[in-house]
Structures are given as C-alpha cells and as structure tokens.
Amino acid sequence: MNLPDRTVLENGAVLVSHALPSNPFIAFRGSVPAGVAAEGSDVGVAEFTSRLLLSGTRRRSAAKLADRLEGIGATLEFHNGEELLSFQGRCTRETAAETVRILVECLSGPSFPPKEIERVRGELLNDVRIEADDTRARAFRELARLVFPKDHPYGRDPKGGEAPIRRIRRADIVSFHEAHVGPEGLILAATGDVDRAVLDDAIAAPLSRLRGDEGGPPAIPPPPPHRPGSAWLPMPHKTQVDIAIGAPGVPRRHADYYPLNLANLLFGRIGLYGRLGRNLRDEQGLAYYAFSGLDARTAGGMWSISAGVNPANLGKAIESIRAEMDRLRTEPFTLEEITDGKDNQMGSLIVSLERNAEVASELHRMEYYGLGMDFLERYPEIIAGLTGERVRDVARKYFLPSASSMVVAGPVGRTRFRL
C-alpha cells in the first residue's frame, strides 16, 4: 500500500489523503481544536457553535447554503466533541472544489443569525430532554461524569445542560468562534476518487485561503483521580434497564494502549461481544447487547461495559458481569484467545478500511494523534509484538470491579445491587 499523502499548507492546516479509485466519490473528514476542551467555563458554547456553522455565512443564508450543497449533491456536517469540532462530507471530484469552498466559508465566516441561534437553542433543549429519556444515553452520560469528575471536558455533557443552553448569547458564540476556529490545528483527510490535481486545485487551494485564530489547540488537562461510585436513575416508564460500568483507561499514545485494546477486544467485542457476550447473551440469554468499549483520547480515556436487560434479570446480569471481570484474574485469557484476537486485529486492517468514510476517519486519527503516515504499515508489527502476559496484565490492571463506577438507568425498582 502506498503511504498516505500529507501536506502542510502555508496557513498551518494539514491535508492528508489516500486514493481509493474503486470508490466513485470523495469522502472527507476533518477537525479544528474547538471542542468542549476549548470552551473553558463557557459551558455549551462549543456545541452551539458547531450547530450554527451551516446556519448562514456573511455571503449566504442557511437556506442558500443548503440549496447549493444539496444542489450539487454534496453533504457537509459539523459535530462537536470533547476535544474537537469535527466536520465530514461527501462530494465527487467534479464538485470537490465548490464543496471545500463552502466548507471554508462556513468555518471562516459564519454570520450566527439571531433567528438561527434561537432555533438551535430549541433544538438543543429538545435533544437534552430526549437524551434524558434514553436509558442508555443517560446511563453513559452519568458514567462519564463519575469517571471524569470535577467538570473535566471528558465528563461534561457537550451540550452543556438546560441552564447553559438558555444562558448562552450570540456574543459568546462569536468570541468562541473567533478564538478557536481557524487553520491552526485544522486537519482534513480525504479519500476515494482523489489524485494530485484534485488535491492541489480542488482541496488545498480553497483550504489555504482559510484565515483565523493563531492560538493553537488548547492544552487538555489530565483527568482528575476517579473515585468509584454508583448511581441509580429510576425511569419507571421504561421497559428495559441499561447498565453502564466503567473506569479510566489510557491516552491514545500511552504504552498500555495496544495491549489494553486487545484485552478489551477479547473481553467484550470480538465476534458476538467476546467473553461478556458469550456469557450474558449466548449462554444465559439475558441481553440482546452486552459488550465493552475503549475510548482513548489525548489526555485520558475510559473503558466501559454496556448491557441492556429486563429489570427482572438486573441482579443476575450485574453478578455475571462481575464474574467475567473476576475471571480475568482466575481464568486469564488463554493463548488461543490471544491468538484469535491478534489475528482479528491484523485481518481487520483490510476489512475495516474498505469504505471511503472509514479510511478518511483512520487518516484523520493518524494525523491527530501523531501516529505517523506509516502507521498502517507498522500496525501488524505492533500487534505481533504484544505478548500474552502483557495483555493479561493490563486486563487485570484496568478491568477491576473495585476501581469501577456503575450506573443503572431504567425501571429499577427498590433493590440495589452492587458490582
């Protein structure tokens, strides 16, 4: 495989790309460091900003932007996250130049019309209510707050909550945008039907005209120490209970990341959800889903377990999750499990990168975390170098019941179970 192409533009923006000629369009994914971590005490302003970038620019209204983008058949979206304001879209080689020009226009000259601000405020308030009524979303929101306490950006609701949403004014949004959205720290990854000409003329040229902040990415503080806790969120009108269990993981560049990623795969992801799925779903029929996840970011991360069960099975499900965590000590991963997991990670290099959108995301990750453009070439060596002992050690170290928080949301009744 040829190495991805990487270009640093004069304004500091970084363009990475990889051609996949059999996919007949261009997918792109990018970001600027203007997520929750950049908002400081202006809670919720990053989310507001991200939702307003398609709401009109100095040159055209929200309606005209939508008409033009959809008129050329392109898509463009902005999303807020804990670290980044990200964007993604699709276009063809014929429409790439105009799509990137519109992207730059939205990033550099949003007009933040008051009417649109009020529309987004209503949308955010509705979304907060909808999330609060969703057992899984609510359990995970609370779990993040427990694992990343003291208002750390990773523990905060990116939407900010009802009070901040009502409080935010146009001036707050304008100054956040001015301070944080610009070419500094911008990454754009493009894949699919791209070649040198498209990259230079249709993407790099309009992107290099972006001007703006010179502040650079905000420093993200390491998360404060986690004190394991639990929360029970009664939602008696629901049918199913959601269980969320988790604890701090590691930053993406941490030495434990790769063994922990493999341990997580074996514990609750591989096939029909690894050991967890085998026990809770396959053997006991307790849940349609029971799996683990690993989230690794710049300054920290979280591993987690998610399961949705009938309230009558809640105690049994928690007990079974606990048993699987304990089993990591009493019956550590076998050599066969570890070999299967490593084979899976090697093979998934091909399978997980078969789509434009997936390749664009991976390129973006490589650039953002500084993994190097040769990362995909080195990946098999990294995986091959993982020893069974190391994987078992990190499993024992991180998947620890006594160090984990647990949140249960749904029709929980009065009985409280412990992990």
């Binding site: 059999s22 996919n23 007949p24 369009f25 398609l54 929200a62 309606a63 939508a66 983008l69 959809e70 008129g71 050329i72 058949g73 898509t75 979206e77 699709r90 009020e118 529309r119 209503g122 308030l125 509705n126 909808i130 009524d133 969703d134 057992t135 939602m235 008696p236 009108h237 629901k238 049918t239 199913q240 591989i270 096939g271 029909l272 085998r278 396959d282 053997e283 006991q284 029929g285 307790l286 849940a287 349609y288 949705g308 069960v309 009938n310 299967d340 084979d343 899976n344 990670q345 093979g347 998934s348 091909i350 399978v351 997980s352 078969e354 789509r355 434009n356 959108a357 997936e358 749904g410």
Partner: protein, 426 residues
C-alpha cells in the same frame, strides 16, 4: 459496474461483482422470506430464525461462525426485513471459501438445538424491549398496525412480545426448512476475486443443496383504505411526535420514480441503504423549511418504504417544546396541498434529482454497501433495482410529481399517529 449473473441447477441465483483493486470481499445471501410471510401467532418467527442461524449446524458447531469470521478480522451480521432476510460476511478476499462454507451450511443445515432456541427467546424479547424504550418505536408499530388490517405489514419484523413468549422450536424449524433453500435465495459476492474461480467454488459449496417446492405466492392484499385512520398515544416521553403514512404502490410500480422525487422535495433524500447517510440531515426540503426553520419541530424526515407489496410513504416529525400537534399537522397538510396544486419548480426538481443521483454514488462506498444494495435489490425482485430506479428517476417530469401527490397523498388513504408526550414520572 461489470456484474456477472448465473443460476445454479438448484435455482440459486449468483450475482458476482468483481472489483480488481480491492482486498476485501463481501458475501451476501438474501432469502425471499420476511415478516410478510408470517401468520398471526407466529409474528417475529423470521427474525428469530435469523438469530438461530448463528448457532451452528452441519459442519459448524456452536460458536464456529463467530470464531471463523473473528479470526479473519471480518465483520458479519444479518437483517430481517418485512420482505426478505439477508446475511453477510465481509472478510479478506483470500478467505472466500470460509464465507461460502458458512452460507451453504446455514442454508440447509442449521441445528435449532431446543436448548439454544430457548436461550434465544429471551434475547429476541430483550431486543424488542430495548426498542420499546424508544417512543418512536411505539409510533411506528401503531402506524403500520393501523394502516394495514389484512396484510402482514400490520406487524413489524420484530413481532409481538406475546408471540415471542409462546412460540415453540418446531414451528420455527419448519419455517426455516420451508423458506431456506437455494431456489428461494440469491448469493451476492462483491470485491477482490476472479469470477471464474469464484463460480467454481460456489458450485462446490452450494451445488449439492436440494431445492424446495417454491413457496406459494402471498395471497393477502390490503383492501383500499376508505377514510383516514388516526391514533393518539399518550405516554411518558420527552417530545411530542407526529407520524403520517400514506399508502403507496409496490416497489415495482411505475409511479415509484416520481414518488422518489416527491419524497425528496418534501423531506430530502438519504439513499436507499439503511445507515449509509449516518447523521446527515437534508435541509433544503419543504418540510425542513416549514417545520424546523420555523421552530415548530427539531427533526423531520420523509421515507418512502419500497416493498414487494404496496406500502407507505411516511412523514415523521419531532416537535419542538411548546409547538402544538394540531399546528404541525396543519403545516404538513399545507405542504402536501402545495405539492398537489403545482408541480415543483425546475430548480427544485433539479436539486432533488441531483440528491438522488449523488446518493446512488455514495451508497457504493465499499464492498459491504455494494453488497447490501445488490442484495436488497434482489429482495425486491432484481439486483438491478437501484440502477433501474435511478434511470427512471432521471426521466420523471415535474408534472408527474404533482400527479403522484394527487394520487397518493390523499387523506382517505392516510394514517396519522400522534404521540402526546406525558410528563416523565419522577
């Protein structure tokens, strides 16, 4: 794209789309069996059978499918629709035989171990209960239940909980044997392979399988609806919801291309493959302008259910806090009336057509999505369904869009479900 089609002696139709520079391979099998082939008391059985086909049988022990695909770093899944059921594996291209072996065993040799059937009962019930946690599932189930009194589209693919609680192993197994046969299925391969070599391996894997007597065609058809049907659900929830469904013809009908553009003008186009559009929200359509831009709603969508039998075109709205269901419904009525009164202007129609055209490309993103497109097309009659539809959409005139709005978006053929969100109990 070059596509080769052959039919084996046992009736299995094989569709091969080689993509030379691709290292991955996506193998799909689509069976012409869905919840429309179920009868009352057995709702959800097709979906339950789908779950059982991951549990081994024949050459495959329990857990083998999972293990074999995992070792390859592959992905696999299955989907049960009202009209068809699909299974897939996407794996490195060199491992083609693994996917073919899994699918050929799955076609006739699934075990249906009674213990495993019983263990899966609570899993499918759990899947349904997870859906029940979402207010929009209640709205969806109510809408189809009310719009169809005779045809099995009356129930959704997951089935009713009371049926899931009482269904036995033997009827499930009979359901499997009846519909899982080479002459009731199509095999689709997309990715890095040589077609001649692939055909040889396919013949070895599937050739020995015996066909079944073809299933009888479905005799049930929904009588014409005379008069609007309405339901008002009052349940705890975070937001009021409105869903309106109009009866439209089957996917093969000549009016479908014009309805595609009608759908796009009214609510935007997000392609025909589920999940392809992700979170992307079209904003240049009439309902977005009339309901979201005006702050009456926070989300709006229109989807055209393309099915083997006449189905529904559905407009769904999540209301903004404080907006009234009456007002939103009045706005929806007004926008429908506008479409009935005048054909869409040239620029608007061109934009709608461009969206459909663009999504036809975006949906080709990789071997898995191409596999789902071809398989879903087969489920509706032909793998060429998507391409043929696009070609027809290119020729639709503005006047035809108005004509289908007048023919189909009529109150007497409409079902409306309103979800009145009640205060969530503390």
């Amino acid at each position: 794209m070059p596509t080769r089609v052959e039919t084996l002696d046992n009736g299995l139709k094989v569709i091969l789309r080689p993509i030379p520079d691709t290292k991955a391979l996506s193998t799909w099998v689509v069976y012409r069996i869905g919840s429309r082939n179920e009868v009352p008391g057995m709702t959800g059985s097709t979906h339950w059978v789908e779950h059982m086909l991951f549990k081994g049988g024949g050459k495959l022990g329990k857990g083998d499918i999972d293990k074999m695909i995992s070792r390859l770093g592959g992905k696999m899944n299955a989907f049960t629709d009202t009209d068809y059921t699909m299974y897939f594996e996407t794996i490195p291209a060199g491992a083609m035989d693994t996917a073919l072996m899994i699918e050929s065993e799955r076609m006739r040799n699934a075990a249906f171990d009674p213990k495993e059937v019983e263990a899966e009962r609570t899993v499918v019930i759990s899947e349904r209960e997870g859906a029940e946690n979402q207010p929009d599932f209640a709205v969806e189930e109510e809408l189809w239940g009310l719009a169809f009194h005779v045809h099995p589209y009356h129930w959704t693919a997951i089935g009713y909980k009371q049926d899931l609680a009482t269904l036995d192993r033997d009827p499930l197994y009979r359901h499997y044997l009846r519909f899982y046969a080479p002459n009731n299925a199509s095999l689709v391969l997309v990715g890095g392979f040589d077609p001649a070599v692939a055909m040889q391996h396919i013949r070895e894997a599937f050739g020995p399988l015996k066909p079944e007597t073809p299933p009888d065609p479905l005799r049930l058809s929904e009588p014409e609806q005379h008069g609007e049907r309405r339901s008002d659900l009052e349940r705890p929830g975070p937001a009021d919801l409105l869903s309106a469904g109009w009866h439209i013809p089957a996917a093969s009908h000549d009016d479908i291309p014009a309805l595609v553009l009608l759908t796009t003008v009214l609510g935007g186009w997000r392609g025909t493959v589920p999940f392809a559009a992700g979170d992307w929200q079209p904003r240049s359509n009439r309902l977005y302008r009339a309901l979201v831009d005006t702050r009456l709603a926070t989300d709006v969508g229109v989807r055209q259910e393309m099915k083997l039998d006449p189905a529904l075109l559905i407009a769904s709205v999540t209301l903004a806090r404080g907006a009234s269901l009456d007002r939103v419904e009045a706005v929806l009525d007004r926008e429908v009336e506008k479409l009935q009164r005048a054909p869409p202007p040239k620029a608007e129609l061109a934009r709608a057509r461009q969206q459909v055209r663009a999504w036809a490309r975006y949906e080709q993103d990789g071997v898995t999505f191409q596999g789902i497109l071809l398989s879903a097309g087969e489920g509706l009659g032909s793998w060429e369904f998507g391409e043929a539809l696009l070609a027809k959409v290119e020729k639709v005139r503005a006047e035809q869009v108005r004509a289908v709005a007048r023919a189909y978006l009529v109150d007497a053929h409409r079902t409306v479900v309103r979800f009145h969100a009640q205060e969530v109990p503390a």
